[in-house]
């Protein structure tokens, strides 16, 4: 069997992989073993972890500039758009992802932004623009994957590249997955050839709290910072159900679903106290500053704790909660827990049973990120139905998302959306491409907090655009051109616009051909 450990399914099973030689079906068990091994050699225990993640706040103290405020962006994005032309894409069927399908439409790119979208006759064409005849082709916003492990479970998949799961403690909210992302993962280039312009990279699902996610532009860079989506909020990964049980059941727990919830709630209680401690410090500091009291009465900043800082950020609403959760009953319990502690779940990921609780999800304004038809690799994935996304979509105020969690699936998200759309239509739900395209563009952008910048074809937004050879809901259709911030970064017909990662250089047979390393 071909080894897929770390590459695809393993991420959703446990997303850890000590033995990459194993087939996908073995991967889950092996990942659990991998976690054991890692734990035995690396687990520092909660107390030590706390110590290790606390830093000396004295370094950050600054009397002149006011109270200590830990940086919320210590690894800032250095992404800059590549040069772009003024381009008019004309004659295409345009899916705006705002619910419109425009026949013979035009999309105008100026300064890296979309300056106009509309029927060909209605759009002002800037002087000196390059015209791209896209007759017969379709144009959509760039595809966005809300759930990817590119970079933290990269190709090649070996023990040395398995960086997705800090499976050393059930709560590793202190880790930031951007520190695991290898920007040389060839998977980024394949995703680009599938029309993907942005994605959220998440830590794995071994832990109750897996750590921070990072949102990337799919533009190759020497550094992760060079890929980071500017001004995108952080996300945090949490996991329901089987995985934490499986990984920690034999090593201190949680061993049960009730143990999972006890673990979440204990952490939220601690996080709320941490948040309140900092809030009090800032309030006290302001009062102190007004009265200009003596230095020795100056309030002392609390000790920083990276784990609690992330959790407190989630409670404040600054960090979006991405909850891996298969079962509907567990999702509704999570919604109650979110109310108990005053935070919001942005999306349930791998929401196999979302259709059983689609009304609850809509009422609470929570997105469901789903596969079209993956199922059955574990018991909590046993009740999948093909109509899941369509039934979620059917609710008023719904937010259905098709995600991949796979370095192959991310290349064909258009096909996955097509499957889910088609399944819905067969039971009489009126869904057409103009609606379903939002499942892989606008809706993930909304959940990830970047809809103001991308995710639809609207004037003023980033020119993140895919020109498809035909209807993207057909199996035979391929992304022909992919623009990110107006820069043409992939062109199926131009090898010079087809990235190759460092790892691939000199490895390939000299007869090898294909776009984006395909």
């Amino acid at each position: 069997m071909r080894n897929l450990c770390g590459a695809a399914l393993v991420a959703l099973i446990i997303a850890g992989c000590s033995q990459p030689q194993e087939g996908a079906n073995d991967a889950g068990d092996d990942s659990a073993e991998g976690a054991n091994t890692a734990s035995a050699t690396e687990n520092t225990g909660d107390a030590q972890t706390m110590e290790a993640t606390q830093s000396n706040n004295a370094d950050e103290a600054s009397d002149e500039k006011g109270p200590v405020r830990p940086s919320t962006d210590p690894f800032p994005s250095t992404y800059e758009p590549y040069p772009s032309d003024t381009v008019v894409i004309t004659g295409a069927t345009v899916l705006t992802a705002t619910g419109e399908e425009i026949e013979n439409g035009s999309v105008v790119i100026e300064g890296g932004k979309i300056s106009a979208v509309g029927a060909a006759g209605d759009v002002t064409e800037p002087e000196g623009a390059t015209f791209i005849d896209a007759s017969g082709k379709w144009v959509t916003p760039g595809v966005i994957d809300i759930h990817s492990h590119l970079g933290n479970y990269p190709s090649p998949s070996t023990q040395s590249t398995s960086d997705g799961n800090e499976a050393t403690s059930p709560n590793t909210a202190q880790v930031w997955t951007e520190h695991s992302v290898w920007p040389q993962d060839a998977g980024f280039t394949r995703a680009l050839a599938g029309g993907v312009t942005a994605m959220q990279i998440l830590p794995g699902s071994a832990n109750l709290f897996g750590g921070r996610s990072v949102i990337l532009k799919n533009v190759p860079s020497r550094t992760v910072q060079g890929m980071k989506f500017p001004d995108a909020p952080y996300g945090m990964k949490m996991a329901c159900g089987e995985n934490p049980k499986r990984v920690y059941g034999q090593q201190g727990g949680p061993a049960t679903r009730m143990g999972n919830f006890a673990g979440y709630r204990a952490a939220w209680i601690e996080a709320a106290a941490y948040r309140d401690k900092w809030d009090k410090y800032w309030t006290d500091y302001e009062e102190w500053a007004v009265d200009k009291k003596d230095d020795d009465e100056k309030p002392e900043a609390p000790a920083r704790d990276l784990k609690l800082e992330t959790l407190a950020g989630a409670l404040r609403g600054d960090i979006r909660v991405n909850m891996h959760c298969y079962r509907g009953d567990e999702m509704v319990q999570v919604l109650d827990m979110a109310k108990e502690f005053g935070y919001k779940v942005s999306a349930f990921h791998h929401a196999i049973e979302a259709y059983k609780v689609a009304d609850y999800l809509a009422e609470n304004g929570v997105c469901a990120a789903m596969w079209a038809d993956w199922w059955g690799f574990k018991l909590e994935a046993f009740d999948a139905i093909n109509e899941n996304a369509a039934l979620v979509h059917e609710q008023e105020n719904s937010c259905a998302i098709i995600h991949s969690d796979s370095d192959v699936g991310i290349q064909i998200l258009n096909q996955e959306a097509a499957k889910a759309m088609s399944a819905g239509r067969r039971i009489g739900i009126d869904i057409t491409p103009k609606d379903a395209i939002a499942w892989i563009t606008a809706n993930p952008a909304k959940s990830m907090g970047i809809l103001d910048q991308t995710g639809t074809l609207e004037a003023g937004k980033a020119a993140d655009i895919v020109v498809w050879s035909s209807n993207p809901f057909s199996i035979y259709t391929q992304a022909e051109q992919v623009y990110i911030d107006g820069a043409l970064l992939y062109d199926r017909n131009d090898p010079a616009r087809s990235p190759r990662m460092d790892f691939e250089l000199g490895q390939r047979d000299n007869k090898f051909t294909g776009g984006a390393g395909q």
Partner: protein, 435 residues
């Protein structure tokens, strides 16, 4: 005429109406686009099924008296999809040991490999069967996966009727792991895997040549007699061995192995098979591959490309498809999607249809009975509501051994139960509970 005209829009009714009837029934599928695979596409074609066999194929045929007539106008008629490498019937849930018999657990020292026989575990009541059948899959190789041995055991060819007698042919093929998968079971080196397999084949030959003498000799206890016995048909060339290999180099070695032991070989994996396509054709080795694989996932996959299927087909290599993404059992129904992607990346449409049907039948040695729409063949036939390679297409009728199959399954029942989320007069647990 007592013909019953049945609307394909109510596929459940088709299935229920005819599913109970034994194989003595006659069915006439009329006026469809018939993709025969072995011959031309017949526009407005008719397929007559009787007593489990395809009896007539052509245009302008007359439906026999008493036949159940299916109006396939605007529909596409194909042979049933054959999955040549799957764990169907051997696992319900991969991660639950209680519901997974597909392979021995790893690293527990379980001693047997080649002796394992899929029919000892094959469960025709698996809920995976009706779910994949609804996707047009009618036959599959139920294939054990290797544990600590490089041999997985013996695979059975089954039909997806779910009937108790649905094992068409046991022990169709042996399974062996070479390449990186083999190395992982042989001291983490390919040298180990190759030494191991040669050693086993030599011992199996020795045992087969004189079993009575062999058992009296002193021998290395590593060699289980039941494994050696099971390998007899492999080394005699009577039974196909499906060998996992990916890199061009590993595949060249498989060709040498085949020649040395005069084996019948099929390769599974084959991510770099396109690089040695000519050699494979000359050696008459078919390849079971995943066309949706284009990443350097391992150092044996550096030249993986979506163009693999097309290049192999163009070189004259017989190909079949599998879905290795942990869905070697659950999503055989996506083989059509994989085939469609192969077409988008250079495989001819005809080549894609063959890779789903006649190719697998050929490599499993049942092409005289299955894999195409021809008079005399077993009537595994699917009527699709459009191009079967499009993901927006679904089967409207599926016949196995000439019997119309139910397209209902656990997933459609869950769907129907939760279509209406309102509280109702009774809980959801009472809805659709009669089946």
């Amino acid at each position: 005429m007592s013909m019953r005209k049945i609307s394909l829009l109510i596929t459940g009714a088709v299935a229920l109406a005819s599913g109970a009837v034994a194989s003595a029934q006659t069915t006439a599928i009329m006026d469809g686009r018939v993709i025969t695979v072995s011959g031309d596409v017949i526009e407005g074609g008719d397929v007559i099924i009787s007593n489990g066999r395809i009896t007539q194929v052509g245009a302008d045929l007359s439906a026999p008296s008493g036949a159940t007539v299916i109006d396939a106008t605007g529909k596409v008629v194909t042979p049933g999809i054959i999955a040549p490498y799957s764990t169907i019937g051997l696992e319900e849930i991969g991660l639950d040991a209680e519901a997974n018999d597909a392979s021995p657990a790893r690293e527990i020292g379980f001693p047997l490999g080649a002796a394992l026989d899929a029919i000892d575990a094959y469960n025709p009541s698996s809920i995976l069967i009706p779910i994949n059948r609804a996707g047009g899959v009618t036959r599959a190789l139920s294939t054990p996966e290797a544990g600590d041995s490089i041999f997985g055991g013996q695979a059975a060819l089954i039909d997806l009727s779910g009937d108790v007698d649905s094992v068409m042919q046991p022990r169709v093929a042996q399974v062996a792991m070479l390449g990186f998968s083999g190395a992982a079971r042989a001291g983490d080196t390919r040298m180990g895997a190759w030494a191991f397999i040669r050693e086993y084949f030599d011992e199996a030959r020795s045992y087969a040549s004189n079993p009575n003498d062999y058992v009296r000799r002193s021998r290395d206890p590593r060699f289980s007699l039941s494994d050696l016995k099971a390998l007899g048909p492999v080394v005699s060339g009577a039974q196909t061995v499906i060998i996992s290999a990916n890199s061009a180099n590993d595949i060249r070695n498989v060709i040498r192995l085949k020649n040395r032991y005069r084996l019948k070989v099929v390769i599974v994996g084959g991510s770099e098979a396109w690089r040695v396509a000519e050699d494979l054709r000359n050696a008459d080795i078919p390849v079971i591959l995943d066309p949706l694989f284009n990443l350097p996932a391992q150092f044996e996959d550096l030249d993986a490309t979506f163009a693999n299927a097309g290049r192999l087909h163009d070189a004259g290599v017989t190909i079949g498809l599998y879905n290795p993404q942990g869905f070697a059992a659950h999503n055989l129904r996506t083989l059509t999607q994989q085939a469609g992607n192969a077409v988008a990346n250079g495989l001819s449409y005809e080549g894609a249809m063959a890779a789903l049907t006649l190719g697998p039948a050929t490599m499993l040695g049942v092409d005289a009975q299955l894999g195409s729409i021809e008079a005399g063949k077993i009537a595994d036939v699917v009527v699709w509501d459009g191009d079967p390679l499009e993901v927006t297409t679904q089967p409207e009728a599926v016949f196995i051994n000439g019997v119309a199959q139910s397209l209902e399954n656990r997933q459609t029942m869950l769907r129907d139960r939760y279509r209406d989320l309102s509280r109702g007069d009774l809980p959801h647990a009472y809805r659709g509970a009669t089946k």
